[in-house]
């Protein structure tokens, strides 16, 4: 059974006559890393948002199966408990919410859902230190409010750090590479590579091929106008880098 199966997914914006996704099909197996590439406005981030359970989108048709279950039935927190994780394109600053308290609650709610014991304060702090160390996250950041005053790169690293803390089964990265300098890009890619495993799937959404120099995908999809129009292996990403999206668009138009 596939970890994630998206079938004929049509999505619009609640209360508005706008359609963003027009029949997306995608199957992702555990252990695989898929990349979805596409130009701005093609619907990539909307797909990520729908997977995480954002309420402003309306699913008009189709279904999403996660571990064989209907993902769309679940609240955002239930998805997190079931092992779905979204690394946000724009991580939110939460002044007054300490990283430690936030992550302790998050980790323990996910652990509880998995039938694991809650971590006490000492065990949690040790676990957090280990993971920060593993992800190369400046430990000082864990003493601050969530994302408050973090640089763009620190926010993205913090998303990957949270991924490492929560150990999801399905990790969705929404343009995690955008706006990063080369060091941060390598750091984020390094973190993802450390977290790749046989019992975890990744869906990486990106505008550019560059992060795929560091994270080698098993499959690459091209999304245009709310549909996946082409699927290939890592070489497809290089082709897109070289030739842009126009040739895919022309091919798709010709096929239609």
């Amino acid at each position: 059974m596939a970890l994630l199966e998206i079938k004929n997914l049509h999505v619009g914006v609640e209360d508005e006559d706008i359609k963003i996704l027009n029949g997306v099909d995608l199957t992702l197996d555990t252990g695989d890393l898929h990349a979805i590439m596409g130009p701005n406005g093609s619907g990539k981030s909307t797909l990520a948002a729908v997977l995480a359970g954002r309420e402003e989108y309306e699913v008009l048709d189709g279904e999403i199966l996660y571990d064989g279950e209907d993902l769309l039935e679940l609240e955002p927190e239930e998805r997190a408990e079931a092992g779905v994780f979204l690394a946000f394109q724009y991580p939110v600053e939460l002044p007054g919410v300490s990283m430690t308290n936030f992550l302790k609650e998050a980790v323990n709610s996910v652990r509880e859902a998995r039938g694991q014991d809650e971590l006490g304060s000492a065990d949690f702090l040790q676990y957090m230190r280990e993971r920060a160390d593993m992800m190369g996250l400046n430990a000082d950041l864990t003493k601050r409010s969530v994302n408050e005053g973090f640089s763009g790169g620190e926010k993205k690293r913090n998303e990957i750090f949270q991924l490492a803390m929560l150990e999801p089964k399905l990790a969705i990265l929404d343009e995690t590479d955008s706006g990063l300098d080369i060091d941060a890009l390598k750091n984020v890619a390094d973190g993802v590579n450390k977290l790749r495993s046989e019992d975890r799937g990744f869906l990486i959404i990106t505008h550019y091929q560059r992060i795929l120099d560091y994270i080698v995908p098993d499959h690459v999809h091209v999304m245009l106008d709310g549909k996946i129009v082409r699927t290939g292996d890592k070489d497809l990403a290089l082709e897109l880098e070289e030739h842009g999206y126009d040739w895919v668009r022309e091919e798709a138009a010709a096929a239609a």
């Binding site: 609240e75 955002p76 927190e77 998805r79 939460l94 007054g96 919410v97 998050a106 980790v107 949270q162």
Partner: protein, 447 residues
């Protein structure tokens, strides 16, 4: 005559005036000349001003007259309810190692107080006692900062003053432990109380004063407090107030401070319960290079009405002031914030900041907020802002996407919102006490 029942057959102003006439020179006697000599002027001024109504701009959103127009009893002689340390235990603050003074119905209770050893020259006592032991200090400062000319309730308090808290920290003296005043109401009768406090930190003095208000009773009470503080040159006074007297208690709390050169004064209030609570906070920076800080947290529930009315008077150059009031309003509660900043002609290089932020959790909760700037100098930086809204949806989604329930996410966001004020509390034990009170309150929300 130990108490005077107010005659409710006449208009409220006349009740007080006749109670004054009956008791003047007797229950309202003169232990201290400077306290006594202001009484007659004050009651006359009260008679002229009358109890404030909504027609006055400063009282537009708070109807205090209907709260005052109730059949209260005025206790005018010491009457000690039989309380012991077990009764006050629930209101003590964990880990707060302090010089403790307990006031019951506005009067210092010697038995329940535990002042301990104070540095040389420092006085922590009742105002009544200070009137005879330190008449010169009382003479110099009493009635100098809380002006009753335009404030009917300050005039009323000044006419009826009997007791309250007194602190005197002489020049250059540091009081390391906080001075903790626990104000309790304990009564079977509906009482109208008028405590009067005087806090004097002379040049170079450093002290922290914590006041907490609680009630042991469900009787209706109205407390008209006037508190005056003097902060001398290079002195530093932190002044905290926890308001938690329960749903049948109303109050007008006037807190007036005057600062001299290079001093720092910080007032922080946290309001958790009360039927109608009006805080008049006035700071006059009567010296250069003063720093003045006002912070307030209002956690409104049920039909609480809390009005913070602040005045920052910059009458000397080169000073700064910071003001931050935050409201979290649930149920049908109402918040009012009015913050006036006055900068006199010639008070150049003033840096004044004011912010009021409110989270409104229901459609029935309301906030009225109004900044006022009155500036007569040209080289000043004054900024003010006010926000009103709901819990940020994007932040909630972020927390939920990490596995927190919608309810936990909302509670965490409320705590975070309140935290900005709580962070300003410099005393760790008090900070934890307030944070815990806030956590407990929010944990009951969204059930």
């Amino acid at each position: 005559m130990s108490t005077t029942a107010l005659d409710t057959s006449v208009r409220p102003e006349d009740r007080f005036i006749s109670a004054f006439e009956v008791n003047h020179g007797e229950a309202l006697n003169g232990t201290n000349a400077s306290i006594s000599k202001q009484r007659t002027d004050a009651i006359e001024r009260f008679a002229e001003l009358g109890i404030p109504t909504n027609n006055l701009e400063a009282w537009k959103y708070t109807d205090i007259s209907s709260v005052i127009d109730r059949p209260y009893t005025l206790p005018l002689a010491p009457e000690r309810p039989s309380l012991d340390t077990d009764d006050i235990a629930p209101f003590l603050i964990d880990d707060l190692d302090a010089h403790r003074v307990v006031l019951i119905n506005g009067r210092v209770d010697e038995v329940l107080s535990d002042i301990g050893d104070l540095p040389d020259g420092v006085v922590v006592s009742s105002l009544a006692q200070a009137g005879s032991t330190h008449p010169d200090v009382v003479e110099e400062h009493y009635g100098k900062y809380a002006d009753f000319e335009d404030e009917a309730l300050t005039a009323l308090n000044t006419a009826f003053v009997q007791d309250g808290a007194f602190v005197y920290v002489p020049s250059g003296t540091v009081v390391e432990k906080p001075i903790f005043f626990l104000h309790l109401t304990a009564t079977e009768q509906d009482l109208l109380l008028q405590p009067r406090h005087l806090f004097v930190a002379e040049d170079g003095a450093i002290a922290r004063i914590v006041e907490a208000q609680h009630s042991l009773s469900d009787a209706q009470t109205f407390t008209n407090t006037v508190s005056e503080s003097f902060v001398g040159e290079k002195a530093n006074l932190e002044h905290y107030l926890i308001q938690d007297q329960g749903p049948s208690a109303s109050q007008v709390h006037t807190r007036a401070a005057q600062q001299k050169d290079d001093s720092v004064y910080t007032t922080i209030s946290a309001t958790f319960t009360g039927e109608v609570v009006r805080n008049n906070v006035t700071i006059e920076a009567d010296g250069s290079f003063c720093e003045s800080n006002f912070y307030g947290l209002v956690v409104g529930k049920d039909d609480m009405h809390v009005d913070n009315h602040t005045f920052m008077g910059h009458v000397q150059p080169d000073c700064s002031s910071n003001e931050l009031y935050k409201h979290v309003l649930n149920d049908e509660s109402t918040g009012v914030f009015n913050g006036k900043v006055f900068v006199s002609r010639g008070s150049q290089r003033i840096d004044a900041y004011q912010q009021n932020d409110t989270l409104v959790l229901t459609k029935d909760a309301e906030i009225y907020t109004k900044p006022e700037l009155e500036i007569y100098a040209d080289d000043v930086v004054c900024s003010h802002g006010a926000t009103t809204g709901q819990i940020d949806e994007e932040s909630l989604f972020y927390l939920r996407s990490r596995g927190l329930s919608k309810r936990r996410a909302r509670i965490l966001m409320l705590q975070a919102f309140a935290q900005e004020v709580i962070d300003e509390i410099q005393l760790d034990s008090l900070e934890e006490h307030v944070a815990e009170r806030v956590r407990t309150r929010f944990s009951s929300y969204f059930a």
